[in-house]
Symmetry: C2
Subunit: 219 residues, 2 copies
């Protein structure tokens, strides 16, 4: 196996679009979801995100990164205006439509209409869900953190609502994403389905982790 | 398809471990890497993380979340002490060892020794890499952000060094993670290999995204 190495200087010397593609690939596989919002005038917006990060379970908090100078600014503005948004997992059946939401549509165009995805409205919830998604999350804005290092923003939010297929929920609370059809992505434009290798039991010193399928005692 | 729904109240009423398993599953598939550090006395530490998030490409920045009251506190202390650490992608060949680093070993035990993974030291780089990894990143600490909402911490860092298999690097800077053997994870304990569906061309309004394999013109 031939190994290629890069120093900090090498990375900074790369052509801009090449470097964006390269560095975006380096973290490994990523979550893939569509964030649904609506502005004060009722105009809906839908944008693909791959930076969902778990922050905590009690209360159920997560974060994601927004680039304010990009197509993501409509999402940001709507969240700050209305403090409510949705997160909708992407399935193989509509990943090209999800990708297409990253095109620079004018502000008065809804990415739902532009891409053919279906707005699903739930009573008492101002932000639109994606009907085609199987796992749908309703979230409330909690905090905006400015990342001074490069002008990006982290949005922190709390999960207020979840809708999912019942058969994807396992007895211990684990959600089987493959059963729900959720796919993953890499870099800026690569989409992947997954195949479970296994679940492992809770790790303890001096005990070799077991495959959960084979071990039925609790931990 | 039977749908199951949860309100905020439903989520907060779940038993603690069940809720942790549940909420950790909701974001979709996650990056999977081992963070290598060394304290001032030379003691190495290795911990599995799944919260790597891309922050920017110029400079190449990323972040990850640390829970200071958990097994992750050694990683945090070492990074704050030495300001340097490594990120190493996990392959199927050693995912059980990666999982095992999450056991609560005493501070004077190296998870390298405990799990059988091999410390790889590079000249001028104080933190240890994982020899078994194919994609290895050297990083410098840049900023610590305290998340007051639940007491977690986001570490921001800059990529200073990369080592990877040459044949995983595509002509446009995309890194083929499958060629490098990188796997993904879900929830707290589920490990998955991936299969590419396709790469899509850069999205533009009024153009249907193409499969990159079929389109050879640049964008």
């Amino acid at each position: 196996m031939n190994i290629i190495e890069y120093s900090s200087k090498d990375i900074l010397a790369l052509e801009q679009r090449y470097r964006a593609m390269f560095v975006n690939s380096l973290g490994g596989f990523k979550s893939l979801s569509l964030i649904g919002t609506r502005n004060r005038n009722g105009q809906s917006n839908l944008a693909v995100f791959n930076s969902f990060v778990h922050i905590g379970a009690n209360p159920p908090l997560f974060g994601f990164i927004v680039r304010p100078d990009s197509v993501e600014r409509h999402t940001l503005n709507n969240i700050l205006e209305t403090r409510i948004f949705t997160v909708n997992h992407v399935r193989k059946e509509f990943y090209t439509a999800a990708h297409q939401t990253s095109a620079r549509y004018p502000e008065d165009v809804s990415e739902f209409e532009a891409t053919g995805l279906t707005e699903e409205n739930k009573p008492g919830y101002y932000a639109p869900f994606v009907a085609e998604s199987h796992i749908k999350i309703g979230a409330s804005f909690r905090q905006k953190i400015d990342i001074a290092l490069n002008g990006t923003i982290m949005i922190l939010a709390e999960i207020m609502y979840i809708s999912m297929p019942e058969d994807a929920l396992m007895p211990d609370g684990f959600v089987d994403l493959e059963k729900a059809g959720t796919i993953t992505c890499a870099g800026l434009d690569s989409y992947h389905s997954t195949e479970r290798i296994s679940r492992l039991t809770y790790a303890k010193p001096d005990v070799i982790p077991g495959l959960m399928d084979n071990i039925h005692s609790g931990h």
